[in-house]
């Protein structure tokens, strides 16, 4: 019984620390998401230009 109790206690500690690190992770991934959104806002005007022309303009002979 005592062993089981120890195990249970151990188990109950684990999820707590996991949950804690998960929250921290969520915070940082939320920050990352927000920053990515800002980048997408920054570059949306870039993408409004003619992608086809932009891409097809880049043709060069090989180098090396």
């Amino acid at each position: 019984m005592a062993q089981q109790f120890v195990q249970q206690q151990h188990q109950s500690e684990e999820p707590q620390s996991q949950a804690q690190s998960k929250t921290q992770k969520n915070d940082s991934s939320q920050l990352q998401e927000d920053a990515l959104d800002a980048v997408l806002d920054d570059i949306s005007s870039t993408l409004e230009t003619d992608a086809e022309t932009y891409v097809s303009s880049f043709v060069q002979k090989g180098g090396e």
Binding site: Q32, A35, L40, D42, T46, Y54, S57, F58, K61, E64
Partner: protein, 508 residues
Amino acid sequence: MPQLRDSSNQGPGNTTLRSPEYDSFHRIFGIETEYGVSVTGASKPCDPGQVAMMMFAPILSRSRSTNTYLENGSRLYLDVGSHPEYATAEARDPSTALAQDLAGEKIMRRLAIGAQERLRKTHGEHATIHLFKDNVDSAGHAFGCHENYLVRRYVSLPIIKSQLLPFLVTRQLFTGAGRVTENGFEITQRAAFLDEGVSSSTTRFRPMVNTRDEPHADPDEFRRLHVIIGDSNRSQWATKMKLATTHLVLCVIEDAAKRGIASGFEYCALSADPSVSNKAMSADLSCGKPVMQVEDIDALRTMQEKLGLMSSPSGLENHSETVTALEIQYLYWTIVSRFVDSHHDQIEQSLPDTDHADILREWKAALDALASKDFSSLSNRVDWAAKYQLLAKMKERNPELSPTQARQIDMNYHDVVNGSIYQSLVGHGLIETLVSDDAIEHALGNPPEDTRAALRGGFVHQALKAGAKFTCDWTHLKTSSPIRHEVELIDPFSCVPDSEYRRLVEDM
């Protein structure tokens, strides 16, 4: 160009007078970066060749040539196919080479902005020059980013092939620049364009390591390892890490070759055609498929067991000859890490400005993130992960995103003149940088202080100041007016002017 040497494989040289660096792990690093050129928004046709020539107009008027050396010791030139190219001066440390490469990027940007101003006078105010630090154009022409490492002569080409190539292919997990291809996103820019492992070809067939053996040093002591397999990186971390990890792997290989013992890397030797493994790993965005075809799977499994490493279950079940790229990387990391522990002082001395413990830690952290498929945690330093994450987010916002638009995002990330994405990622703290703007500016005007580059840079500086007619290459400095004079600099590690050099500079 210096005389080409036969890449014969000799044992440790019998030279009596060796340079002090020969019996150490000191290394010379160099990066050659080719850039791609395009123009949009011009009011009349304008081809990349014209634009490249316009970029080099100031160089041509200064040097009467599109091939020149700069005051920071680097080489700036227009390569085959109108690719502007910048080769860094000799560096003793990966972070020095990184700063020099970034200086090259800045020089290219300035040349392109100057050319754009002039172009707008003839081709309309919207004419825009794009300069891509990537490796493939839209028609599938490839161009390169080559790394050079000075390696002790007793490391033979078969050793390079069996012991280094598996590392070079699999390191792309964290150094790959990523590319939007017709078949979807890939980890590397170049896998589709590399045909063979180690050979002397350059443009017709592309090997991963070129055997061109111009050591630009005493050929009895050193060979030049010319690595072609790398991508051009925007990530500063990736550029530094590819040089630093390759250096550490080379230290193990050199030590084993010198003492005639096994390095442990030979168990990773790839089967006959490494380009098959290279292409498969580049396309595996899970980074976990057993795509690497090795020569002797049983020997590799035995070695993994000996080192206490996990092996991929899929490979075992199938009894196939394949393992994951990560398994190979973990094996390299483990052997390098043990070697560094037992050669701590020598390794420390070989890297004047880089902490090898940091490199090992960063390397391991990247592998662990890949192993747990936590790719987003790598997006602040691994180019392919940064682009992959951005594209995924873009598709979330705009499900209609076309393959062409995805390709445009990819290209914009690499445009060092008018691209906005990389700058925006850096600006929002989504990509880390290692070198300050001041340090880049310094590297633009000053050569590395602890190599031959210091002598070359000093010579170019003095020649320009004095208005002397001069030429140089990696090992020679010449003036033709006011007097004819030539000095040979055979030791890339030496930054100490001898009497001949002093006379050359004083006589200008």
